[in-house]
Amino acid sequence: MLIKLTGGTVYDPASGIDGQQQDIYIQDGRIVAAPTDGKPVDQEYDLRGKVVMSGAIDMHTHIGGGKGNIARTLLPEDHRMDPVARTAVTRSGNGHAMPSTFVSGYRYAEMGYTAGFEPAVLPINARQAHMEMGDIPILDKGGYVMLGSDDFLLRMLTAKKDQKAVNDYVAWTLHAAKGIGIKVVNAGGISAFKFNQRKLDLDEKNSHYDVSPRQILQTLARAVKELGLTHPLHVHGCNLGVPGNVDTTLNTIQGIEGLPMHLTHIQFHSYGTEGDFKFSSGGAQIAEAINNNKNITADVGQILFGQTVTASGDNMRQHANHKFASPNKWVCMDIECDAGCGVVPFKYRDQNFVNALQWAIGLEIFLLVNDPWRIFLTTDHPNGAPFTSYPHLIRLLMDRSFRNDMLATIHPEAQKMTSLGSIDREYTFNEIAIMTRAGAARIIGLKDRGALSPGNWADITVYTENADRQAMFTKPDYVFKDGNLVVKDGEVVKVVWGTTHVVRPDFDMSIEKDLQKYFDRYLTMKLGNFKISDDEITEDGRGSITVHPLRGAA
């Protein structure tokens, strides 16, 4: 079937198209060039006056894995307020802070998103992450595999194994856990917490391993580069949420020595210690460091006011923050000599000084980082806010007067401590399209996604322009996934199933000799039973795996 999208105003930064009126043709799920053989169009959509972008891609969202399910189980009262009934085409479920899998897929699609990436796939919990993501309809998905507090790596570093051996282990883990990138959470800190260390600075050693976070970050960043992964090492830094951590973050940027590094939810790592409350914004310093270091990318992890739940691999920091739990219940877990997790419900309040300033710091970073290709729109769902708040966040970025109106309502001391009111910048459609589409596809390493030129998969979102950007981005007119019309007027009309994106770098299989011994001695599962096979993802008849090329091969 040949579909024609006629006359829309297209924002396709990957092709350098910034608001030009043009037609798009779709055939067999992909975008194709205008037919020259007079082939008739089977279906035409008149998009004159509409805004057309590729499907949005959330490059950091907690949509699959054990900590999310703990968060769901912990908060039945949060679901009760947001039931989602079954329809002729969709399954029932529940929403708000940590929605059920089906509802996650529908609500993302209804906002024009067609892909989401789980940033904290514990290798030992990867099966669950993929099974949960396997029950998220419509979206493409993938995961960054978490290393850095796993005892095998820390033992390698203590034993001064060479970089190649580390590379082999990293690549082996990517294959076994089916990931597209490598994530570090509080490098070495999750392990240190198990040895009863309650904090770990960048150059502080793990009490058992004599290894510092800096060393772990450098080694893994090098492994990612040498293996040729497109996605840079994805780093949740040390000292999350600690006043004064802006210095840690700046030091982390310098310490990586020019290697590619992605700093995630950087808002939570941009705090100073100035002012009466000993809590201040490091937003400007962080933005300047990103502007000056081209090897660095970041997503913001914006907080928005209201009830949510924080779910993180960083059990050290989550344990430290449990006293802020609202409602007052929380979970920490130590996990399988592999990692950990902490789940703490949170209610961000605009009249709380710290929360109000966190809100402003995130926006400062968005607006002060110059290059939209290196900064990404996230709330670290659900940690800063549920993903359903993205249209509101887009309005804050695109509409200065709306932003300043909001600023005027937050805690007055926080207003004094932020430069936000003096920032005039408003994001353009093209910049939003970079941040949420073209840039996201590029940084993850997705071939044939996030762009609208012929050859790309037809993931396309169509909006009606509206001065109220929140309203506009809440309810697209049409969303196409792989060429299928899945959303019309903001509602799911058809359910399809996306693919799972992975990378498979080469490695020396002899690493399995050491791993086999390690598994038999210390772990609780046989090596052969640990590795996830392709059919575990595809056997339900809905799932599929898409392998992406390594850097330079795309």
Binding site: P76, D135, K194, H319, V331, Y522
Partner: protein, 419 residues
């Protein structure tokens, strides 16, 4: 005849995956690393191979059509048991969503003791590999651990080497409440567990005293439930001095009223030890007959653990109202779909309502159900996934033989199609 090695078990809950099993046609024999739980569960022969409607052998198609007909005419069917693998549970929830059913895992009344504590105040827990490599003090509360999982000690405490303990045999094991049924808790070097016995019903009081001692509250009593305060103080001291203490309980064994409050006390003891500067973690048992699997899959599909009603078109959770037995007793339910693929002895509860039983081959019924569809067992007749007791690790179950028995997922999907 073939032998399959590194076979994972869905039966014992502790993720044993080193079994060797000889396959001769459809006959299985555990040749290495069996135990009193796993060996009979794997070796049970296949008896039923064909579905029945009203006791008469029929095709799967006919049985599914009859099941659909029963469900079509109901207002509140109950899907009980829920003992299956991940794909089976996915299909069960899809069918429940479609037919407006209540979904209720057979183990829920036990799991509820943990879930109520979790949903009220949370916990700090750990997993098997951390126990294996770190735990130097293990407090076992109110449960006979080796009765629950015969190989627990061998695999996770008396392992030859641990990463962070120089001698695994020097681990301290303390029983509070139930005494052990055997000697598995004695270390290979002969070190015996400390046993401080009391009746199950006294555990609320005993654990409350333990908590008070930890918080440094003054106590007048010299003993509680026959246990001296000095002995309880020594437990507190040992946990606080431990490198990595673990407090283990089995919710199923805490068979007394309001046992969730005792679970909550244990969880708060663990949290308090961490707040007082030492590391300690909780460790709840479970993982048998798909109980964790049901809660996990129901968790991501509905947001709630596996006692949920779809009657209003969306999932609602109530840990008491949607209990199978009370819905049957109160006349609220009008049909029962029973799913039990691991244990042919776990037959549907007695009821006059129409029964659709999707069960492990070999179920003997007191009253023949309206529809009986024998299904394969995950990890024997078809591949699948099951959650271990620690809830983080899903094990990949293997297919060991060609029995021709369909999976739960195939059967329930066939019923949904027939609707």
């Amino acid at each position: 005849m073939t032998e399959i090695t590194e076979v994972p078990s869905p039966f014992c809950g502790i993720g044993t995956d080193d079994l060797a099993i000889q396959v001769n046609g459809t006959t299985l024999k555990v040749t290495a690393n069996g135990c009193a739980v796993n060996t009979p569960a794997f070796e049970q022969p296949i008896t039923d191979t064909q579905p029945r409607v009203a006791g008469q052998p029929v095709s799967l198609e006919t049985a599914a059509a009859k099941a659909a007909e029963i469900l079509r005419n109901t207002h509140l069917p109950v899907f009980g048991g829920c003992a299956t693998d991940v794909n089976g549970m996915r299909a069960l929830l899809a069918l429940a969503d479609r037919s407006g059913a209540v979904v209720d895992s057979a183990a829920f009344n036990n799991a509820r003791r943990n879930l109520l504590a979790l949903q009220d105040s949370g916990w700090m827990n750990t997993t098997l590999a951390e126990v294996k490599n770190r735990c130097d003090v293990l407090l076992i509360v109110g449960t006979d651990l080796e009765g629950f999982a015969p190989r627990f000690f061998e695999r996770y405490l008396w392992n030859e080497e641990a990463m962070f303990l120089s001698d695994t045999g020097s681990r301290e094991v303390i029983y509070l409440g139930k005494a052990p049924s055997g000697n598995a808790s004695t270390s290979p070097s002969g070190r015996k567990a400390t046993v401080l016995p009391c009746a199950d019903a006294d555990l609320p009081e005993v654990t409350a005293v333990l908590s008070a001692l930890l918080k440094g509250r003054p106590l007048q009593a010299q003993s509680v439930a026959g246990i001296s305060i000095a002995d309880l103080q020594s437990i507190v001291d040992k946990l606080k001095a431990a490198q990595y203490g673990v407090v283990l309980w089995g919710a199923a064994a805490l068979a007394f009223d309001q046992a969730e409050l005792t679970v909550q006390t244990l969880c708060s003891i663990v949290k308090d030890i961490n707040l007082q500067g030492s590391r300690c973690s909780g460790f709840p048992l479970g993982g048998k007959e798909g109980d964790q699997t049901a809660n996990q899959v129901c968790g991501w599909t509905t947001g709630y653990p596996a006692r949920v009603s779809f009657a209003r078109g969306y999932p609602e959770y109530d840990p008491y109202l949607y209990e199978t037995q009370s819905l049957l007793n109160n006349g609220e339910a009008d049909a029962l779909l029973w799913v039990q693929t691991f244990n042919s002895g776990a037959v549907p509860p007695q009821t006059k309502l129409p029964i659709i039983a999707v069960g492990r081959s070999g179920m003997i019924f007191e009253k023949e159900p309206d529809v009986f569809i024998p299904v394969g067992t995950p990890g024997i007749d078809h591949p699948g996934h099951a959650y271990r007791l620690d809830n983080v690790v899903a094990i990949r179950l293997k297919k060991l033989r060609d029995s021709g028995l369909p999976s739960t997922a195939e059967v329930l999907s066939a019923i949904e199609q027939a609707l």
